[in-house]
């Protein structure tokens, strides 16, 4: 028996707006050891032709998490709570991004999470939840689609 709430398969969370903050992007960039100043120095970003600091390549996962936190504050569960993920048994299996554009500080993007489905693996020792996050800009449309497998190690 698995732990995930499999009745949530197909669920799409209501869109949540997330405003990309310059300081938050810079903090993330510095933490991951980013050396390209377009990610933490607004003057360098503008000199390179960007409107503001550029969100790093894996920042979509952060935006997805911030959206979940925002939705939890408003009383509806984020994606991990929704599918009943148990942190004691949770591993990250895969993560993928398809980019259609770039995210910049100062923008407000719309975030939707979808529970794609659940599968069992290794004879039931693993159960895998497949989820997607889509981040859309009001004018530039879909910016990035993220997909991930998150795994419960059972038994």
């Amino acid at each position: 028996m698995g732990i995930f709430d499999r009745s949530t398969a197909g669920h799409i969370t209501p869109p949540v707006d997330v405003t990309l903050e310059r300081g938050a992007i810079a903090f993330f960039a510095e933490t991951i050891g980013e050396t390209n100043p377009i990610h933490f120095d607004v003057d360098a970003a503008r000199s390179a032709g960007h409107p503001d600091v550029v969100a790093p390549a894996t920042y979509p996962v952060v935006v997805g998490t911030f959206a979940g936190n925002e939705s939890a504050r408003k009383g509806s569960p984020g994606i991990l709570d929704l599918i009943k993920a148990d942190m004691r048994h949770l591993l990250h299996g895969t993560e993928s991004y398809t980019y259609h554009g770039t995210m910049y500080a100062g923008e407000t993007v719309s975030v939707v999470n979808e529970v794609l489905g659940f599968v069992d693996a290794k004879g039931g020792k693993l159960e895998i939840a497949q989820v997607a996050t889509r981040i859309t800009h009001p004018e530039r449309g879909l910016i990035v689609e993220a997909k991930r497998d998150i795994i419960h190690v059972l038994g």
Partner: protein, 138 residues
Amino acid sequence: MTITPATAKPGDTLPPLTFGPISRTTLALYAGASGDHNPIHIDLDFAKSAGFDDVFAHGMLSMAQLGRLVTDWAGQENVAALSTRFTAITPVNATVTCEGTVTEVVEQDGETLLKLTLSAKVDDGTQTLKGNALVRIA
């Protein structure tokens, strides 16, 4: 000669990147910066209660290094896709070494793209991430 996306051929390798050692402080900062507050990465008591000897690094902290590897080389605006499978846990205090290799030239939606294979390994050679990227030829 420096290899760029415009001159790269299958078999060429990207300049490697190392990150670490990944201290407990780095994990605490990554938890705060990413919003991923899963205590398995930052709270030794919780990790032990879940059956682990110690906390371990966020997989996404290593994927961020694969992102740096590719965007440093190609420019972020030229990266069409980035993906990884997490194949082993990254222990606390590990140093991560990331490498990339051009494997093929593909045509997709009227664009010419390079397909890269990516890897992250920790100190003892264990591969922790097995990834791919698609990069536009600028």
